[in-house]
């Protein structure tokens, strides 16, 4: 077991996963393709009928963009709702690579440009150029994570009729205080 896998384990031996519900929308070559029900932090899930925040990011085209395959799932049919999970640590790594890495490049370049030229225009251009370099670094980082299979969601279970986006997989730790 590598270090990342160990970090994903809790004291009870269960992996710490971030869960989400998804619906099977197609079966291609025996591989189910799923569409996430949760497209925003609120309003896109099965509970949206009772929620006033739906509407943003829930149009069909945006849902279609987020379709993903689930090759390790048991036999599913179109219309099934399932619960999938991704590793908490992988989520944090992915967030860091996608959002923090370009900022590091940008501020590095901006600091150097400001120190050398002391001009708003030159600093701006250098930061925008560094953003492009940062996005290339994001691509490489994403490829590295993907190669380790850390970004692939895992099948957890079939979703119950009352199961919505407000689910968690974290086993309840015992508090001493």
């Amino acid at each position: 077991m590598d270090r990342d896998s160990e970090d994903d384990e809790t004291a009870t031996g269960q992996a710490t996963l971030v869960e989400g519900t998804a619906r099977v929308v197609a079966i291609e070559d025996d591989v189910p393709w799923l569409e996430p029900e949760q497209t925003t932090s609120c309003g896109g899930c099965a509970a949206s009928g009772l929620c006033g925040a739906k509407g943003i990011g829930t149009v069909a085209s945006q849902l279609a963009r987020r379709r993903f395959p689930l090759p390790d799932a048991p036999r599913l049919v179109v219309g099934d709702r399932v619960v999938v999970g991704v590793s908490e640590r992988a989520l944090l790594k992915a967030s860091g690579i996608t959002y923090a890495l370009p900022l590091v490049f940008m501020f590095g370049a901006g600091g150097v440009a400001q120190w050398l030229a002391d001009s708003d225009g030159i600093t701006m251009v250098s930061m925008v150029a560094a953003l492009g370099v940062g996005l290339i670094a994001v691509r490489l980082g994403g490829q590295a994570l993907s190669a380790h299979g850390q970004l692939a969601p895992r099948f957890l279970r079939r979703a119950g009729s009352d199961e919505t986006c407000q689910t968690t997989a974290r086993p309840a730790p015992e508090l001493n205080d």
Binding site: T40, S41, I56, G57, I97, A100, D120, V138
Partner: protein
Amino acid sequence: MQEYVLLMVGAALVNNVILARFLGLCSFMGVTTRVDTAIGMGLATTFVITVSSMGNWAIEGYLLEPYGLGYLRTVTFILVIAGAVQFTEMTVRKISPPLFQMLGIYLPLITTNCAVLGVALIMVETKLSFIAATLFAFASSLGYSLVMVIFAGLRERLALSQVPRIFAGPPIGFIVASLLALAFLGFSGINTN
């Protein structure tokens, strides 16, 4: 250098976006049920606030102010923010589809996050240089992320606590948020001028 440090401390802690300016309260209550999602949302918001503030500073400095178009500021900034979110979404989707599938849930919510617009409007009012304005926006979003993560940690503990039924759920969350705001009030004694 000292002025930049004081500017960032002031933006992140003394005038915290959530607890002092009361901006971004929707995501503050909506995405803070778990620490990991709060960190993800915080990082995404940090990126969008910083990038959109750079664009807003350029538009304000080179277009709106010289040509007396200040009355278009709010509309223009909203367009820039929406553009920055769309740019981020399209770029991440293009360069790394697996990352997009994992993180795309945060981006639509940022479009409707008033903290992004609030930071941009405060930034142009203070008439900062480009690098100072960008650092101000970055520090403001760091303060936003810090509060999100602290509050998410508190809510994870609250979920395991026995709370009187009448206070269970959002009510105890709001009470804890108010106590957190009181704690952050302590930073107001720091002189960042």
